[in-house]
């Protein structure tokens, strides 16, 4: 009996070791047929439009009449026109609100919670704090417009505590409109970061902390020596998601301010929309869109470099779905087909064997919505 178990384990080990080298199946031409539908929609509605956008960006065109070849002039405008450059500067400001603040807050919050070990009701809080992620941005924008309204709750609060001078029409204020929009990004992103880091920190063996504490490490040292390094993968995911969200902000600006007052809240994606569909500068819009795309690519690559760093561990993510599949496999193979797999829970994901970074990294981008 024991020898049989041994053989089976060995076989599984062997299979596992072989797996990373490629898919398990034998060569099949048929694969092309399976891929075909995905490839057709992909080429028609992503590949081709991307190529056409690049073409458009080399012309001056109002969307109706004839177009004029202008070469790279539209790109030159993106970098020299103060208004267009301004839009990118606003995007940088938004990165602070969308990414830097939520990531810092999320780290702090999660680390504080982790010191307590398991807390009762954490699951419920996790669900509530994550909620802003799923509410449609248009609804978020409408709720916050109300909060920022001249007679809205925010100003009422300031007046109630005697700070009448602080109260103002936030979204109509030249100085405060952009930070006000940014703060909404903080509201949306913090829960995501918190939940992410909580999941990452849950994988750190408790003994590490206990050992550190026996050595007399301060909470501060504990954070920088154990907690922070252990969530580097999650940090990369959080930064990728939030930075890209900041770069692509559109719905919020469209609904809350339409880029105003003046163009204080104009951001690149809003400028793409405005140039292409409101003021008839299709070429400029296409050039803007491509610069924005390039920025998204660059940001993603840089952030993931940080995430991989030197020890070659994969940034979070990769392990999750594999863990999930591994769990399914442990049941009787075919017979279990009718049973729903055990519901994966973030808390018991456990440490996963890491895989070399690189191959699976782009998973973190989401698909750019």
């Amino acid at each position: 009996m024991s020898s049989m178990v041994g053989t089976e384990t060995a076989a599984r080990e062997a299979a596992r070791r072989r797996r990373p080298k490629g898919p398990p199946g034998e060569p099949r031409r048929l694969a092309y047929l399976y891929i075909l539908p995905a490839l057709i929609v992909f080429v028609t509605f992503i590949g081709l439009p991307l190529f056409r956008s690049a073409t458009f960006s080399l012309y001056e065109w109002d969307g109706l009449g004839s177009s004029t070849w202008v070469g790279l002039a539209n790109y030159a405008a993106v970098f020299t026109d103060p208004a267009l450059r301004g839009a990118f500067i606003h995007a940088l400001v938004l990165i602070v609100f969308y990414a830097v603040v939520p990531v810092s807050l999320g780290l702090l919050l999660a680390a504080t919670m982790m010191r307590a070990g398991r807390m009762r009701g954490l699951g419920l809080f996790r669900v509530l704090i994550f909620l802003p992620q799923v509410v449609p941005m248009v609804v978020v924008a409408i709720a916050w417009r109300q909060i920022y309204a001249p007679e809205g709750p925010l100003n009422s609060l300031f007046r109630a505590v005697g700070l009448d001078a602080v109260a103002r029409p936030w979204l109509g204020d030249y100085t405060w409109a952009l930070p006000s929009v940014g703060l909404v990004g903080t509201w949306v992103g913090t829960g995501l970061c918190f939940v992410l880091f909580l999941a990452g920190m849950a994988k750190v063996p408790r003994e590490l902390y206990e050992a550190a504490r026996l050595d007399g490490a301060s909470p501060r040292r504990e954070f920088f020596a154990i907690t922070l390094p252990s969530v580097r993968g999650e940090l990369a995911v959080a930064l990728t998601l939030t930075v890209i969200a900041a770069l692509k902000t559109f719905d919020l600006v469209y609904v809350m301010t339409s880029g105003g007052p003046g163009n204080q809240t104009a951001v690149p994606s809003y400028e793409v929309y405005r140039h292409a569909f409101l003021i008839g500068e299709v070429g400029t819009a296409a050039a803007l869109a491509l610069v924005l795309t390039a920025l998204v690519f660059v940001a993603t690559v840089i952030i993931n470099r940080i995430g991989d760093s030197n020890d070659g561990s994969a940034p979070a993510g990769a392990s999750g779905i594999r863990a999930l599949a591994r769990r399914n496999r442990s049941g009787p193979p075919v017979a279990s087909s009718d049973q729903p797999g055990p519901d994966p829970d973030l808390d018991d994901a456990g440490p996963e064997p890491e895989e070399p970074a690189g191959s699976d990294d782009p998973r973190q981008q989401g698909r750019g919505r």
Partner: protein, 268 residues
């Protein structure tokens, strides 16, 4: 781990504070939606605002469009992703690596880079303002993500299972749908809820592609509703609540799948 009672209390205080901040705008929308629409109306809860928004605000039409778009996008992209993921995950063929990376790059392309060209090219063939123009670009973006997601699942699904199915006489098609797909229900559910959320919340593509009111999706209808009726805040709030309702309900029921998917960095 030992922590003091005070620290525990402080932790709960922090959690309650952040949960309240997260909830406040949502509750604000709900309370506004239930408040009287006209000044001088009697107090109490005005559930009638929802009915008014539904009919006067034309949200019945917006919600129907959104439902159709969501069903088409989720259904088609799930089907295509499962098929493509199966091929990438379990079969070896020439060019598989290159093809896979090409599709992966598609995850990174923001909608902004597509809509400009898509709008003008589809307009020239008379296809703007059709369901196709709203659905197809979203299917393409979802398929890029879904293929990645399903490939990861199929790669890790056991070789033994596939072999056992084959010994039992199942072909590749049956192995996929009768063995691997039922086993992969958690992974597939996660993919479905994420694609549903993105599709329901998508704004830019319908904004550009739907030029007539009849094709407006719910978020888009809400944005236009806001532009038209600046006075009736409670009707606007009722509309906002209606637009958020489906995705929030799905979230509350399947929050594990939402959070897991987002935590794995699948999004935005």
């Amino acid at each position: 781990m030992m922590i003091s009672r005070n620290e525990r209390v402080a932790n709960y205080a922090i959690l309650i504070l952040f949960a309240s901040i997260a909830l406040y705008p949502v509750l604000l929308i709900l309370t506004t939606a239930l408040s009287p629409d006209q000044i001088g109306d009697s107090g109490g809860l005005h559930f009638g605002n929802f009915a008014d928004a539904w009919t006067q605000g034309r949200f019945s039409s917006y919600m129907r469009t959104s439902a159709i778009v969501a069903i088409l996008v989720v259904g088609l992209s799930a089907l295509f992703s499962i098929m493509a993921g199966y091929a990438f995950g379990t079969m070896r063929f020439r060019g598989s690596e290159v093809l896979f990376y090409v599709i992966l790059l598609g995850i990174m392309v923001p909608a902004e880079a597509l809509v400009v060209a898509l709008y003008f090219d589809l307009r020239s063939v008379g296809l703007t303002n059709t369901l196709l123009a709203i659905v197809a670009p979203q299917v393409a973006q979802s398929v890029a993500f879904g293929t990645f997601w399903m490939r990861a699942y199929f790669r890790s699904s056991s070789r033994e299972v596939v072999e056992a199915a084959r010994l039992d006489g199942a072909g590749h098609w049956r192995t996929l749908w009768q063995v691997l797909v039922p086993m992969g229900r958690p992974a597939i559910t996660t993919m479905l809820v994420l694609i549903f959320m993105w599709t329901w919340n998508e704004f830019l593509i319908p904004l550009v592609m739907a030029t007539s009111e009849g094709l407006r999706t719910a978020p888009l209808g809400l944005a236009f509703f806001q532009g038209q009726y600046t006075a009736g805040t409670s009707l606007l709030a009722a509309g906002a609540a209606l637009v958020a309702l489906p995705v929030v309900v799905v979230y509350l029921f399947l929050q594990r799948h939402f959070i897991r998917g987002m935590v794995e960095g699948a999004v935005k």
